[in-house]
């Protein structure tokens, strides 16, 4: 079984702070990480590799520095790594991004594709299902557990909803998006850390894939950013320094006043 894992390098958004004076993002020095859900997807693939001997291929799309995420994936145990990088890809929205990645994956011809459920910098959860549609393969999103049933040659997936879960069976090609709670990513293996340096990161450019220029990049993106605005806070504020007893009374009084209790 060949498993391709799509990973994205993202700024660690939990460390992004706003400059209170200018109301802009302070991104300087914010470290880049493998998106947490994607890292869980990689771990899920490596788990299957441990159990049934799969080949694990990591793929990312992004600028050259995203190679660092692939180096980490190799150090965790991925067998091969591919970066899709080209000026022609810049400015892609989710649909254009999924078109590019699907074309890259088509070249690698994996049996199964794992993605994270969503990336912490965009939170859209769109690229995975869109890739599946482009490739014409079934998707299972919000995977909380993935097992391989040798006898049935099928993946058994626990699909999480807000109020329930489904146990799903899928055989043949498919794409699965993984929740970060599925698996705790392993640490990089010392042996693999040393060896990853010897491994090559394969580059896939515009010239290597078969897609129409009308469907990629900024120009090929159906959605456009019309405007952006900094977040405004307009609530009326009253702040008091109180000891716990007085604080408790103040809160209870305020709730009573508003008929909330």
């Amino acid at each position: 079984m060949k498993i391709a894992v799509c990973i994205k390098q993202v700024p660690n958004t939990t460390e992004i702070k706003i400059d209170p004076v200018t109301n802009t993002l302070k991104r300087d020095g914010v470290p880049s990480i493998i998106n947490p859900d994607d890292k869980a997807a990689l771990e899920a693939a490596l788990n299957l590799k441990d159990k049934c001997g799969a080949q694990v291929v990591a793929l990312t799309m992004g600028p050259q520095q995203a190679e660092k995420a692939l180096r980490e994936a190799l150090a965790m145990g991925a067998d091969e790594a591919y970066i899709m990088s080209d000026k022609a890809f810049a400015g892609s929205d989710t649909l254009a991004t999924s078109t590019i990645i699907a074309a890259g994956l088509a070249k690698l011809n994996p049996d199964v594709i794992f993605c994270g459920r969503q990336a912490i910098d965009g939170d859209t959860a769109q690229v995975g299902p869109q890739i599946a549609e482009h490739l014409g393969i079934p998707q299972i999103t919000y995977a909380a557990q993935i097992d391989y049933d040798q006898d049935r040659q099928a993946l058994i997936v626990k699909r999480q909803f807000e109020d329930r879960y489904q146990m799903l069976e899928v055989s043949g090609k498919c794409l699965i998006t993984v929740l970060s709670s599925l698996a705790k990513p392993r640490y990089m293996n010392v042996w693999d850390v040393v060896n990853q340096d010897l491994k090559e990161i394969n580059v896939i450019t515009r010239a290597d894939i078969e897609v129409s220029s009308e469907h990629i990049g900024l120009g090929g993106s159906p959605t456009k950013v019309d405007s952006t605005a900094a977040k405004q806070f307009d609530k009326k504020i009253e702040t008091f320094e109180l000891d716990p007893t007085a604080a408790a009374q103040a809160i209870v009084d305020a709730l009573k006043q508003r008929h909330l209790i």
Partner: protein, 321 residues
Amino acid sequence: MAKNIWVFCEQRDGEIQSVALELLGVARALAQTTNEKVCAMLLGHNVLDKANELVAYGADVVYVVDDERLAQFVTEPYAQAAFSVIKKYEPNVLLIGATSIGRDLAPRLSARLHTGLTADCTKLDIDQSGKLFMTRPAFGGNLYATITCPNHRPQMSTVRPGVMKKLSPDTCKNGEIVVEYVQWDDDKFKVKVLKEIKESKCDTDIEKAKLLVAVGRGVKDVEPARELACALKGALASSRALVDAGVTSQHTQVGQTGKTVRPEAYIAFGISGAIQHIAGMEESEFIVAVNTDKNAPIFKIANLGIVSDASQVIKEMNKIL
């Protein structure tokens, strides 16, 4: 030409989900501007009798696909049904709830239709020509971006539950109910449901609770907070930090990666107010914040801010109540 404002009306076990009614409310406002109809799409099995509810909440027309293939949510049958109806009627706008169902179906559909999709919008506006302006938080909620989809139709957007307001139901309102049939491609159904299990939630549903006692890193012991939530007839909510630490369950998480809530009262104990958390609760009617750090960002959005030890205040409140 693409026309009308459409809403994918999610149901589970035949029960219309609240987010569908909220979307009908905002669709009504959009349709007013463009002078178009509000159309509801209802997919499921044995759901025809639910169409009237959608009319009462704002739909002019309800398109229903009622088929046993749609009894449980699985992507491909739902995508085929939705695609077939959309192709036939060509909506100008299609709104979908950003639930674990909507966020699975919407991107699949957008790729099949080759149109743009904007995720998790918090605000929707439209101009008279029918161009939709979709506003969503970007960069973890630090900025708002307004997105358009100028040249592709339908203009698709998912919207978080609890963000839009539903209308008061009008049971006298007239609406048209149209039953649609789909030419199924059963060969494409590769995913089989072995079983579906409903989970009881250990904590009350935080999206429905009128009052939330929310706890963050500054609260040392969660049990007194749970007790307080019960005493106030509310539910316990929490920040991501406590969910990640395994102290509270994921069902209780408020924020960008959790749930969006707008209770009548939100009492934040020991929550500093990371922008991701604020994105999920700032629409609450009345916000109380208790934190030892007087510079905590949560105080910027609180109606009542108290600088004090959160754990101690919880204990004192339990004594009073």
